[in-house]
Symmetry: D2
Subunit: 326 residues, 4 copies
């Protein structure tokens, strides 16, 4: 049975650069947690630092989680949503900012321990560059890896999962794709550093999601965490899972199962104009539909298809499933 | 009932720039026509000038079509597969080449009359430009429209359908997207000039296929013809229909039905490494699956979804269909 | 001599979906206008409704413009930056919202008259759709055109310029590319409706900017306005002009000159992390550099290159200019 | 002084999938080598197996090279241009084909020794997959790495440089981007295995070319070889260097110099409709122009710009250079 979770903010207000007040009203945290708990299958939430959790609210949040029978499956340090991170966090040109990134990450690790949350999902979204002749590549990549290594070494009881994204908010990120992020993770020489695949980030990077997952699993089971959403391939549209693509999610879930992925299936969307709970529920239901489809017989059939590699047969298999044939 | 067809060459050898001998062996024409006829649902074929049909073979081809109970649903003049077209056809800088393009198109119109084929599918694939400071935009667009108008005016009993493609073989084509091609068609001031949507070309142009189809139908029912294939959005991969996308084909077929499209559903693929007949058969079966799905009840349901525009409900509807719920 | 302008907000704070407080502090309007006036070459500004100008501030803004020797070259009605526009403006499913879009646009037309501003730049950025099975294409396109026609017919002394953008904030816009927007403009049957090319929007739509400009100019000089910025082709990065591309801007300015474009060259950027004034100044300087390059001799040389279409020669010409050879 | 070379086939006929006879006539090898030698700056050529060199022609080719004062700087085994490779080479599902890929590569290594050519450029272009549910990712990636390791271990006196490309001829390649190819190179545990950056492949993968180069150099100087061409970012257009992009090549050459790259600058284009010699000459001249621009003062200035990271200043620096200001 797959374990489903959601990033709490999916249920709140969503902004973009044109409508910075947001498209919706912001519910309070208790309401968002209740909404999360109401979604069939959801057993956990991810919390973003400063948006969802701080030093002073950790007890209260813990109580609300308990009350709603929800686990905190990951904390995402806020390394991207404050003015001070505008020029980067772990890879910022400013030594003071780099220090603050480390502090912020370790503060979140403390909160994770308090909530018995096993994983820190690190998305250093502002670490990168926008223009040619701007990035100091070797220096900044070194800072990034060193800072991450310091934080991760200090909390060996926690797992740190690096989330990559090829661009946005910068035009180029340092943690851009599965393979380069794996290099950074392995470069720390620490066993508690792995990689998060956000399905939308993988798609927009031009990766095949399943191939990326296998690459990480083949290298010491370094796939630590999964974020789910869908898009039109060119941008991080953060849409309902399965609203655009289908068979590629089947392929992904097949390989997650085959390679023994044991982490969470966590929803990460931006339902700008949609009801948040409805949008997340649809994503979970879609993935549950595939989970049911992938019974033992189907797993064997796909295994055989993959060994043979005949695209006509692979397509026919998918068609027979979705049109409920045979 | 939709009418299905196939471009004959789909069943033959396929080449690319690295493997110019092709990935497969070339069957003879009789074999290809037999293979086309064997595919359930296929009632017609499209023939490419010089590849599939010439002055001297038209009788023989007509006999083979009759024997296989196939109609010739369109002829595609060869304006792209000879050295002389390297710099363009109707929009070439050479007056002599422009004249040859007109002659070639009119020659194919003559053959179409002989075969009782009602439509000429014009793809001036070499008309465009590759580099900055190369295209003489106003002059070349004018030549293109004038040349097309001459050909189309000469055969008022035939329909001429202009197929657009944003790029390849040039980096930029003059007939690039639905709207600009519609402008060219309307610009001829002739009623027998319309537009072909190739689904893959539309996807790679960043269009929503259904929206493009509606645009053409709204302007005097100018959608004359449809080519079907699938791709990964960034290039004309010419893959099996439904191998990547799904719900967008449902939306397309919904709108084709709603706007009264009465043309053919013709397969246009490049099954480089696949069995051609199998690849085409899968495409037809996929579209037939959607056709069956779109019964009266489903048409009403989609109509209601579209009036409301609630993405959660639209996604739920699709999910309930493909996982066979309810 | 080209006339340069800037959208006033370029000099203010810039937000994105992650950092909704913005990357910078917001200067007051007087400071922004002073900064605009300080940039060599800038003679005009564009004002965005509700952000930069309202009923109650129009006098004050007019005074500030005079004081800084700046013209108001366009007003951009706010049809995108309020919660009520989340589901669209002229093409919204809600009749009340469509009515409000019309009112808002006409209110801005009144302000334009007061400021002797000759042009309304209409960007109905929320008019489109995000998901499959969501857009009611023919109905919503009809509403859009009808609403625009009403507003434009009411102010025949003003020019209305429709700005297209293929996506963002929606995944698909109704005014997406040059040709479809031209169809809408022409569809109003009004002479005072034209099209704005935003260079970044054109690039991200896969267009060649110059070819798009020519298309609009060839159809009754319908290119009314120009917005300038640069990007990496896949998204509206709104960067400094010339920071990524070069020769394509030369081609664009060549054709603007050749086709008699007499409108403004207005900067439209999002300098998230940059000094706004500096970023705009660089863009103007870059365009001025090209303007100087395009002397009579260069215009003749390019004309000859374009007639011949030899890419080796065209590239050599560009190289000789930028490396200052010969 | 940079060392310039060219892939010999650039000077010959070029085909695509529509015009498999090619756009030009094929000169003989002596003529192509003479043309290469005539280009100022070109000192070496790369030869493609079966197209340019075989067991039986190696002596003759060697003589022609000597006669034209050209070095053979790399041999590219033909692992992509024969029917047998249609389903892959080192990663093919067929054990016999995998064995043939090894043999072919080793045969080319023998020829390299004979010609005193120091490098084998391995592009296993057919190793990948096209459709979902087709690739057996872990197995095929393992085969690829094992096969490469066998070949490279057998010729420790030669360098093997793996060329990546995100797609084409497959829709997905196993050696897709810099980082994953580096993982494969490092995975062989051999010091003579590195990576080739083809600038166009890097651009179309969404990489910043310079950042990719630095990543490879930082990991044991694994950047062994460089191929140069330009494109519109979305596809491998193989155009004249500098015909589209400019400042990004400056950044690349800056970092190649800074990180001590000592390999060749080899042209790799597909001048479909252009004079081959002219197109290659333009590319070399463009790179030489940048090479001259990057004098000691400029290197220092860029170093300072990169440490500061101010995009306005970086853009201003570039502008001052290309418009010859100051």
């Amino acid at each position: 049975m797959n374990k489903y979770a959601v990033i709490l903010g999916n249920l709140g207000n969503t902004r973009d650069r044109f409508l910075s007040s947001g498209y919706k009203d912001q519910p309070d945290q208790a309401a968002m947690l209740r909404q999360a708990a109401e979604i069939d299958g959801i057993q956990g939430v991810e919390l973003v630092g400063s948006w969802d959790i701080t030093d002073s609210t950790v007890e209260e949040v813990g109580d609300l989680l308990d009350k709603n029978n929800l686990q905190c499956v990951s904390i995402i340090p806020d390394l991207f949503a404050q003015k001070r991170w505008g020029g980067g966090s772990f890879a910022a040109k400013s030594a003071s900012v780099r220090e603050q990134a480390l502090e912020e990450t370790m503060k979140m690790a403390e909160l994770a321990r308090k909530l018995k949350c096993p994983l820190i999902n690190v998305w250093p979204g502002q670490d990168g560059y926008d223009y040619p002749l701007q990035g100091n590549f070797p220096q900044e990549r070194a800072w990034l890896q060193e800072g991450l290594a310091k934080a991760c070494a200090a909390y060996p009881d926690l797992r740190f999962s690096l989330e990559y994204k090829v661009k946005e908010p910068r035009t180029h990120s340092y943690l851009a794709r599965a393979a380069d992020t794996l290099l950074t993770a392995v470069g720390t020489a620490l066993p508690n550093v792995g990689v998060t695949i956000d399905t939308g980030h993988s798609i927009m990077a031009g990766e095949n999601m399943a191939d990326a997952a296998v690459l990480l699993q083949q290298t010491g089971n370094r796939l630590f965490h999964m974020h789910f959403n869908d898009n039109y391939r060119a941008w991080d549209d953060d849409m309902i899972v399965g609203s655009i693509h289908f068979v590629e999610y089947i392929e992904l879930l097949y390989w997650l199962k085959t390679t023994g992925y044991e982490g969470w299936y966590s929803m990460d969307q931006y339902p700008y104009r949609e009801d948040g709970q409805g949008a997340v529920r649809e994503s979970v239901r879609f993935l549950q539909g595939i989970e049911r489809m992938l019974d033992d017989a189907a797993m064997d059939e796909i295994g055989e298809l993959i060994r043979e590699g005949n695209a006509v047969k692979s397509t026919a298999w998918f068609r027979s499933k979705v049109f409920n044939l045979q």
